[in-house]
């Protein structure tokens, strides 16, 4: 009996410890790195499953200097997830919905920029918004990975993202990517989910060109002017 009491005391202590750890993690959640600016545009920059990189932080800083307030989000770091594509499917959508609503509540024009697999929670959260909220949002996706499964010799299978009716989506696709030949299929899938799509192919660039181990001179130059690229594409797209 004494053993049982001791075990129960230990078990309660264990539960308390687990709860406390959860609280500490939640309390320290680095929701976003913010780069305030006085302009009327707000960009939510969602890093890929590999996490936020130094060139991305620099670009966010430069955007703010150009008047575009920027919130930089890194799901892998915020939720202590492995830096894998599948981790992005684990991001709590209600948190992201809350971020989107908070961003829109500020009164600025809100655009989201998501990289690689981070496109999945962004699009799913957009699908969960009210139609009017969704229509007010612009989403730029850098080489999005929306595959459910892919296997050589088999048709690609894309994830069901929910209704994207009214959502404007611009896909930025580096030319030097195995995904480039499959861009039409990806755009078709987004359109089938209700999104209004457009795309830009980025010549002479590879996926994740700002964080490559052996970047070309052109990739180095382009990673230093990511802020200009995004501003240019936002303006040319006319999503206002």
């Amino acid at each position: 009996m004494a053993d049982l009491d001791e075990f129960m005391r230990f078990f309660r202590f264990l539960l308390l410890g687990m709860w406390a750890c959860t609280f500490v993690v939640r309390a320290d959640l680095p929701v976003a790195q913010t780069f305030p600016a006085d302009g009327q545009q707000l960009l939510l920059w969602v890093a890929s499953e590999r996490g936020r990189t130094a060139p991305e932080v620099q670009a966010a800083r430069q955007l703010a200097a150009r008047g575009v307030e920027t919130w930089s989000l890194d799901f892998a770091s915020a939720y202590l997830l492995p830096q894998l594509p599948s981790s992005m499917d684990e991001v709590p959508l209600q948190d992201l919905e809350a971020w989107l609503r908070e961003a829109q509540a500020g009164g600025k024009r809100v655009a989201v920029y998501a990289v690689a697999r981070a496109a999945v929670p962004v699009l799913r959260a957009a699908a969960a918004l009210e139609p009017a909220e969704r229509q007010a949002l612009c989403v730029m996706l850098m080489h999005p990975n929306l595959y459910s499964t892919v296997e050589p010799l088999a048709e690609p299978d894309y994830l069901d993202l929910g209704s994207l009716a009214g959502l404007r989506v611009l896909v930025l696709q580096p030319r030097r990517s195995a995904a480039t030949p499959w861009l039409p299929g990806l755009l078709d899938h987004l359109a089938q989910q209700g999104a209004t799509t457009s795309h830009v192919v980025l010549e002479n660039l590879r996926e994740g060109y700002w964080a490559r181990e052996t970047p070309t001179d052109y990739e180095i130059a382009e990673s230093r002017r990511m802020d200009a690229l995004l501003l240019h594409e936002l303006d040319a797209w006319g999503c206002k």
């Binding site: 010799l153 088999a154 030097r176 195995a178 499959w182 590879r206 181990e213």
Partner: protein, 171 residues
Amino acid sequence: MRQGWLGVVVLVLAGAAQAAGFDARPAVPAPQLKAQDLAGTERTLADYRGKVVLLNFWASWCPPCLREMPSMERLRARMAGRPLVVVALDSAETPQEVNAYLSRMSLGFPVLLDPDGSNTKRWKVFVLPTSFLLDAEGRVRYVLTGPTEWDEGEALQVIESLLAELPPDAR
């Protein structure tokens, strides 16, 4: 009983080894391949019928693709005189981009062009490099996603296994 468990463990390990590398496929006819070589000659799989074919999808911007190229060239040299053909199909690049790489890397096997990505899409290639091993009847037998050293280990074993299916006088 202990031997039974040992058998199960061996089978599981063998399965894991198989899953780690080459994906064995049921022998089905390969998709159409229709591409020009660097001289502008139209090539199809019929040109290689009767031989085991290593068909490698690659691109000059893809570091893992370039890493495995020397081993493909060594494989070609090692298999000279035997019924194996190595074919590298460049995915969705211009001839100029391909030639720029080939000016730095001498390759003795045919390089085909797929500037519009039509072959890449027919073969449902989503990752580079992706390689297909075809038997002498033009059927896909193994698929590998990602790079390998082609002149050693498992790669050499599966190639030899396909060559072993040929009549002795043809190997």
